[in-house]
Amino acid sequence: MALVLTEEQELLKETAHEFIQEQSPVSEFRRLRDSVDESGFDRKLYAQMAELGWMGVIYPEEYGGLDLGYLELGQIFEECGRGLVAQPLLATVVLGGGCILEGGNDLQRKDILTQISTGDRLLSLAFQESAHHNPYGISTSAELSGNHFVLSGKKTFVLDGHVADQIVVVARTSGKAGDRDGLTLFLVDAGAEGVTVNRTIMLDGRNAANVHLDAVKVEKAAVIGELDAGADVLDPVLDRATAILCCEMMGTLSEAFDKALEYLKTREQFGVLIGSFQALKHRAANMFVESELSRSILLDALSAVDEGRDNSAQVVSCAKARLNDSLILICNEAVQMFGGIGVTDEEDIGLYLKRARVMAAAFGDSSWHRARYASLGGY
């Protein structure tokens, strides 16, 4: 169990921190949000990140990757979370690319992972079909017809789906919605006939998409992994993506907390600093304790994923439920501590609050993860 970062990992984190502070401060995120440009992210910055090797951290060297672990990738995401960096990194590298890494054949891996590493291809993963996380609740159908599969269905909350070149679609080849068996993963070109991608602008200023598949023809070679056994790929990919999202949440949480703490030490009322009021001190201390516990379980989850530990799914659920709750607590408390300025658009803390909500809903809210944790724990 690696609960303390090594020097190399610390260095990676510091480098990411400096890069983001310089190239992508929160003001940059504001500009993107307010301009509502076509893509919602800065392609030049994305290319720079690819040059730093960020897209290939978890990929093998033969595909242009660094062959490091999720603990390392997580350090970069934590810094992205601190700076509210809006980039399709998670969707491309961990979700879409993650499916290829886990289930793709040599040809797919070579083509796609290499392109992702250089920053030349964007991917996303389309699995969700309702307003709640339910990875096996898939009705989108894929029927064999001659040499092709024909895909039909509707996907929602497809993270960064609006800019993806290719979308990994989770469809049902047998069984019924809710079954773990009978899922198959397909690699679909975003421009293929019958594919409609509608960008949805989310409350955090970031983007997802609703994807309609209307009798989309895909070749057999587009299947990722085994027919009907898509869950064997989807499960570990979602766990890894959840762990990485938790890192981003940790960064957002830490920055929101630091901002609140800073405000407690500078804002004066009644002739004293508001941080001297015990009612606020105790709340700040509780926020700190919650964030420390979340950080510990997050480090444990990342090393569980890297080590391929038997209990990694359970630790990841523990981390996500905790991060959801502590992130929301800290953002809510921070907004209150800022007083009136806290509820204005001008003050950054509100951006953190809104981002927190979207991340908390992605890949399962707290009660979903508590139920899964209980099932995995045998109760």
């Binding site: 600093l273 201390a285 109760y379």
Partner: protein
Amino acid sequence: MSDLETFRQEAREWLEENCPPSMRQGLASNEEVEWGGRAAQGRTDDKKVWLDRMGAKGWTCPTWPAEYGGGGLSKAETKVLHQELSAMKAPPALTSFGISMLGPALLEYASEEQKKKFIPEIVQGKIWWCQGYSEPGSGSDLASLQTRAEDKGDHFLVNGQKIWTSYADHADWIFCLVRTNTEVPKHDGISFLLFDMASPGVTVSPIQLISGSSPFCQTFFQDVKVPKENLIGEMGGGWTIAKRLLQHERSMIGGMGLGLAGGAKRGLTEVVKEYAGETDGRISDSLTRDQFSQLRMDMQAFAATTSRSAAEAKAGKPPGPASSIFKLYGTELNKRRYEFMMSVLGTQALGWEGEGFTSEELSGTRDWLRSYGNSIEGGTSEVQLNIIAKRVLGLPD
């Protein structure tokens, strides 16, 4: 085989040979653990055998230096030892304030002579120590304490009163905070004294808790003579030692958030399923299941935090303000766990004694009531929050 695996092998063999079979059944309650002391010396039961053997081996205090009777083990070896102990469901052979509080403070602040005298007695459980800190007027504001120790040349003369002195009625010796100087600011006039509870002028009177037990006492000192050599550290230097000792105490109390030492007789999950009912292997009531899951997650995150802090601590680094996090979270978590079990057990948790309740149910109820004290003893939760706000977060006074 790595050194650590060799150690595991040896430890397992030694424990197999030396741990009496009756001591391998886990604990129903933390109250069952042996506390040692003079009174225990006459006993012949298995607890005593277990204590004597572990004490002689130094494994009651595995990390303490062997030259003072400790186990001389590394942290990694100690972890292995604990794993082996809990694998055989053996409870600690000894628990005491000597181990968790006084010993570490003595190792840091006492003279060589004092260490040679007091540490081995702690390791072997020969002396039962109690803690004389709190007074009727000085609880959270501990440094305002009034108990006086007058310098009489070759000895001190101690007068005053302590309260909430846990196990003072069983204890052989006391580590006591006394005021040796009233002319200086309150923190600078405190000294740290050790003395025998059998000294003339010491009287104790037990106080009963809401749990029905009376683990603590009022303790009175009237013209108690204490030899000069029993002063630890400098005259007037007691507050520094007192604070460090509190950090050890807080880590110890916080550890309760992890559950019973050495593993409980039955796992929590088993008990919850029995009382809340199960359907297809799941707890039937979804709200109870959700609450239980949350509790377990918090326990897991707390355990990970303990491991992380241990991993962070450079070898030999004493506990810092982090101990306040453990004290605060561990005790609040412990209280939550008992609270949850109360609701799971329903009216079977409401028995006091006699027929109609199992002994597990009755002791669970008593332990729940006892847990209220956890967030008070060793510095209240509010005091821990103050410490975190000030020392860790740097918030202004």
